[in-house]
């Protein structure tokens, strides 16, 4: 007979029950007649405090609490990719198929499809010694993902029986291991508690770029495979579009997208768009590598707290197979607010702005599950965590932004002023940073160009210089500046409009490969060098600034495509021709005068 508690206190998503002696902390429980899913957060003598992942409206005093004997866990196996789950891995499309346009309570613990048959290719042979993490079978789950079936952590042994390759559902036994007289049946799935990081052999240094195809990110504030990044921004600054762009175009093998306390329509948009979009590298539909976790802002708040753990556990599982996984959490602030709401209901002592004192340590523990690792089975895999932060009032000094900033490696600050001017992505180039630049230097040298990093520094310096000059311009106007400073303003304008701004909805501009980013930078550099040297020769800026040439360089991002490889060469030649002409004209003029 399972343990049974009795409800004595209900306060929103927090429920207390007595007779809870045999239960354990973090155990998953079923609450009330409707069997709402909950998790025990604390025990005191026979009193248990439970957070409930479903709406508690309608719960009655004295109803029962039933234990399940295990911590909050997710089922990991084929059927995850391309699917959309709620915060505790219940499939929303299946809930919809069973007639629920609105999400009801008490649907119980359902997870990945248990009846679907998968084509399994068995790799192990009887007599093989298998260790934790070893791959013993493979299922081609989607066009992009070969789902490797692994021995669960903590289990090893000699294969005594194996099934033949063929069609199985996730409950059928595929192999039996024997170790010290104990038998382990291996199935297509394993269960794992979401709050416990999955084990790895060891961590490895971060040295590979996560290519995103977004110019301002790749060039100026690069993300690394296995790294962490935060994208803070007030509302309307484009956090979600930036996250969507990263989910679409970054060169990870698997994308886990967590819509945590955000808009329902945004999840619908992903569900409608991603199956239609093609991966730029393989041409397969992007949905074939994507997992969605949705806890929209009107879904129960406790499940919001769980959703990011569900997401990262799924990410770790695919990492263990040797994949590079990128996980997007939009937004971690909502998760923090869920923590705050529950802490408030528990009457915990609040720290800053009502958030519980453990906010920073929980955030750190989450981001630390990212990394580039050597897996138990010897493969290499990575998890990159990219968290959006929605600071209250757009004020970055609030606790969630500050606690996140301390932990993450890259900080992409979205700026309201830029967003108002429709400069997108509105990543502020002065306040953003990436700590991965030094670790990625070699990668850029080998994979893009030896001078890529130098170019980056040169462009950033121009932008910094412009920022200083703008302070003066704001007071006295541009005309009073000497020409060698005005040329900086002109070139910055080109960098901002022609390079930093990137149109997510333009077919040529949405994703820009690194080679093209480099070529674009080279064109801008050439323009700068030539224009600057003309200024130094005393040629007036009005002559140096050829409207047509400048506007064509700004527009090169729309005109460049794989069909027109010569564009950049052509622009470079035009720059040279123009300034050669200009210089020789002035040389003659100077000669004439003397």
């Amino acid at each position: 007979m399972a343990n049974q508690g009795k409800i004595i206190n209900i306060n929103g998503p927090v429920v207390k029950a007595v007779n809870m002696e045999g239960f354990m902390v973090r155990e998953m429980v079923m609450v009330g007649k409707k069997k709402l899913i909950g998790e025990i957060i604390s025990l005191e003598k026979d009193l248990g405090t439970i957070q409930v992942y479903e709406e508690t409206s309608g719960l009655r005093m004295g109803e029962e609490v039933e234990g399940t004997g295990m911590p909050l866990s997710v089922k990991l196996g084929p059927g995850i990719i391309g699917n959309i789950f709620d915060g505790i891995e219940r499939p929303l499309s299946k809930i919809y198929d069973s007639g629920h346009k609105f999400i009801p309570e008490g649907i119980g613990l359902i997870s990945i499809d248990e009846s679907k048959k998968w084509d399994v290719q068995i790799l192990a042979k009887p007599g093989d010694m298998l260790d934790s993490g070893d791959v013993f079978a493979v299922v081609q789950e989607t066009s992009m993902v070969a789902h490797k079936i692994m021995v669960p952590p903590g289990i090893k042994g000699r294969v005594t029986e194996v099934a033949e390759s063929g069609s199985y559902n996730i409950h059928e036994t595929l192999a039996v291991l024997e170790n010290e007289g104990k038998k382990h049946e291996l199935k297509m799935y394993q269960e794992w508690p979401v709050r416990k990081p999955r084990p790895v052999a060891r961590r490895m240094p971060i040295e590979k770029l996560l290519v995103t195809g977004q110019r301002v990110i790749d060039t100026f504030f690069p993300l690394a495979k296995g790294g962490t990044a935060a994208i803070p921004g007030g509302f309307g600054t484009g956090k979600t579009i930036t996250q969507h762009q990263l989910a679409k175009w970054s060169d990870a093998d698997i994308i886990v997208y967590i819509g945590c306390g955000e808009r329902g329509n945004e999840m619908t948009e992903v569900l409608e768009d991603f199956p239609k979009l093609k991966d730029p590298r393989t041409g397969n539909p992007l949905m074939d590598r994507t997992v969605l976790i949705a806890n929209t802002s009107n879904m129960p708040v406790a499940a919001r707290e769980a959703s990011i753990y569900t997401g990262i556990t799924i990410a770790e599982y695919f990492r263990d197979m040797g994949y590079n996984v990128a996980i997007m959490a939009d937004s971690t602030s909502r998760w923090a607010e869920a923590l705050r709401e529950i802490a408030g209901r528990l009457e915990e002592m609040p720290a800053e702005e009502g958030y519980p004192a453990y906010l920073a340590s929980r955030l750190a523990a989450f981001y630390e599950r990212a990394g580039y690792v050597k897996n138990l089975n010897g493969t290499e895999g990575s998890i990159t965590v990219i968290g959006a932060v929605s600071p209250a009032g757009g004020d970055f000094s609030e606790p969630v932004t500050q606690s996140t900033k301390r932990i993450v490696g890259a900080f992409l600050a979205l700026d309201r002023e830029l967003a108002y001017a429709r400069h997108f992505p509105s990543i502020n180039w002065l306040s953003s940073y990436s700590g991965y630049v030094p670790m990625l230097g070699d990668w850029f040298k080998e994979n893009v160009a030896p001078d890529m990093m130098a170019l980056r520094v040169k462009m950033l310096r121009i932008l910094q210089e412009e920022n200083k000059l703008m302070d003066i311009v704001k007071l006295v106007g541009e005309d009073v500046l000497p020409d060698d400073q005005r040329v900086i303003l002109e070139i910055s304008r080109i960098i901002k409009m022609g390079y930093l701004q990137q149109n997510a909805y333009h077919p040529q501009d949405s994703y820009v490969p690194l080679s093209r980013q480099y070529q674009m930078l080279k064109v801008i550099e050439r323009l700068y060098d030539r224009a600057y040297s003309c200024v130094k020769k005393g040629i007036p800026l009005s002559k140096i600034k050829d409207e047509k040439l400048f506007s064509d360089i700004i527009m090169m991002k729309y005109n460049a495509s794989d069909e027109k490889p010569g564009l950049f060469q052509e622009l470079t030649e035009r720059i040279d021709r123009y300034y050669d002409g200009l210089e020789s004209m002035y040389k003659e003029g100077a000669a004439d005068e003397s």
Binding site: R60, M61, G234, G264, A421, V473, K474
Partner: protein, 456 residues
Amino acid sequence: MKVKYLKLDKAEGPLIVMNEVEGAVYDEIVDIEMPGERRMGKVVQIDRDRVIIQVFQGTSGISLDDVSVSFTGKPMEIPLSREILGRVFNGIAVPIDGAGQIYSSKYYNINGRPMNPVARLYPRNYIQTGISSIDGLITLIRGQKLPIFSGDGLPHNQVAAQIVRQARISDEEAGKFAVVFAAMGIKHDEADFFRKVFEEAGVMDRVVMFINLADDPVVERIITPRCALTAAEYLAFECDMHVLVIMTDITSYCEALREISSAREEVPSRKGYPGYLYSDLASLYERAGMLKDSKGSITQIPILTMPNDDITHPVPDLTGYITEGQIVLNRSLYQMGIYPPINVLPSLSRLMKDGIGKEYTREDHPDVANQVFSAYSRVQEIRALAQVIGEDELSETDKKYMEFGRQFEERFTKQDFEEDRDIYKTLDLMWELLAILPEEELTRIDPSLVKKYLRK
């Protein structure tokens, strides 16, 4: 036989506390009978046999002994049928127009349930409001939630009324159109203004009004939008109607929430508002949208007044994080005599990108809107500069921007309360304004479109 409890332990502000209650249900409705009066309340917290009840009409006049409380075991439900069209209700859905009760066999839980994201249909159809700054730059999409951020004394009611009046006309499915109006803590004359506008526009028989005025009980204010949205869901998803929901004023709603939260002695977060303000607001706003299996839609236009015109105040701030954009009204524009005083720069329609362009409005719309935004934002920089150095000292291009800014406000933003501009007129006007600028400045528009539409 229902058990009646005859003794209260405590009555304070909006709350009553009772001991020795058995089997209370969280969130259930209770009936409170007192001499000559009935009140309604809701269970908000249960601790063993001690129950805290929030009384919708407040506790004033309640005595601890001379009262009888019975528990219904059910959350708040309201009867709905097509007959609600044209009717006026109070904040807890009791008819106040003297035309009798609504009879229906179907009762609906006012709390609703979260829409399954898989069941949603992504909104793509634009609604022509006839207001240039909205249609051109902050396009409203059917199924969107687009609030108006306003301030005290600004004409947000007029803007909302103009949208209601003009949005209807452009709708081919005019017969399928309904308005649900939820008033929370607004003044009598504001409520009358809306009633008059609906009557004049001849839509009164398609309007459902839920009215909680400034002097009505505060707790009812928490219920009002939920009743209204439940009615809207019924009309949209069971009667296949396109429903426009106007909710005003969200700020008073949030203040009511704060009042109750502090009475319950909850830990406050920013400015004394409860920590769950975001989730609570989301439970209203997220009820906008469309469903795959239904022809109807719910479009929400919540109105909120920003205390002290501060957009970072928790109410507009949290709203902006949930809604799909915002229409921001600006005091200085209004003082310059510009109606509607919509400041387009902080305004935004998130769903606009998917509902405009070739298939919906016109091919040039996305680019031209983008260009007008960036030009107008440049105008602000140049104006700041002109203030320091004087307009005469500006460069030629900058002077043109100044002229663009003036004409933009005078000809584009400014519009009569009765004036209904169609989308083509709005777009043409945008091109006319852009023609003031040198052509090289139009870097955000595809050159072929410039060629096609720009008339110098």
